[in-house]
């Protein structure tokens, strides 16, 4: 699925590390959180496969913007947090 800039998304509330060896680049603090697509950064071989020397299909990578106070209550009001996330971690909010 292709996400246009401005699209409201939710990061999948998925915890592969509880199911066995894995390498994921989606930080724990954004799982299940709502964010907004800022831009598409390109498409890259999936690091989750590269990490195990498996054939790695290309996946789109996005800059996703989060309201930082939703992630960390002690943050300053109005602060944003920008995270690079692969498409397979995102779904429409």
């Amino acid at each position: 699925m292709d996400f246009a800039p401005g699209t409201e998304v939710r990061v999948k509330d998925d915890w592969p590390e509880t199911r066995g060896p894995c390498h994921i680049r989606t930080p724990h603090y954004v799982r299940g959180q709502r964010g907004r697509i800022l831009r598409r950064l390109g498409a890259f071989p999936n690091p989750e496969d590269l990490a195990f020397a498996r054939p790695a299909p290309t996946r789109a990578l996005y800059h996703v913007l989060f309201d930082e106070t939703a992630l960390f209550p002690d943050s300053r009001q109005g602060d944003d947090l920008l995270v690079e996330l692969f498409e397979h971690w995102l779904e429409l909010a």
């Binding site: 590390e17 390498h23 590269l50 020397a53």
Partner: protein, 102 residues
């Protein structure tokens, strides 16, 4: 943030334990060991032996106590060694012999 799910020990962004610690932003020099490990990783990447993603996976699978005890580049060489052993590029006997060589 889902507090019910255990994060992996390397996934420490936003962990309250570090929130009150000042960040050391002073430039620090690299030791000869650090530079050698970095060079080795680059050669292994160029030769197609291992990717940076495999390096990261190997670093993340270092047991927690050891992970925190090792320096940045010590984690790298630990991951590189584990990867080379697992893929059969080197054997444990060869590694032991090289480490024991004068």
């Amino acid at each position: 943030m889902d507090q019910d799910n255990p994060r992996a020990h390397h996934d420490m962004g936003g962990v309250p334990r570090y929130a009150c610690e000042p960040v050391d932003i002073a430039p620090h020099s690299l030791s000869d060991f650090d530079k050698e490990v970095d060079a080795l990783r680059q050669v292994l990447g160029l030769k197609g032996v291992m990717t940076v993603d495999e390096l990261r996976r190997g670093i993340e699978s270092i047991p927690e106590a050891e992970y925190h005890r090792l320096s940045y580049y010590q984690r790298w060489i630990r991951s590189i060694t584990d990867t080379l052993l697992r893929k059969g590029f080197i054997t444990e006997d060869e590694l032991r012999a090289a480490l024991e060589a004068p």
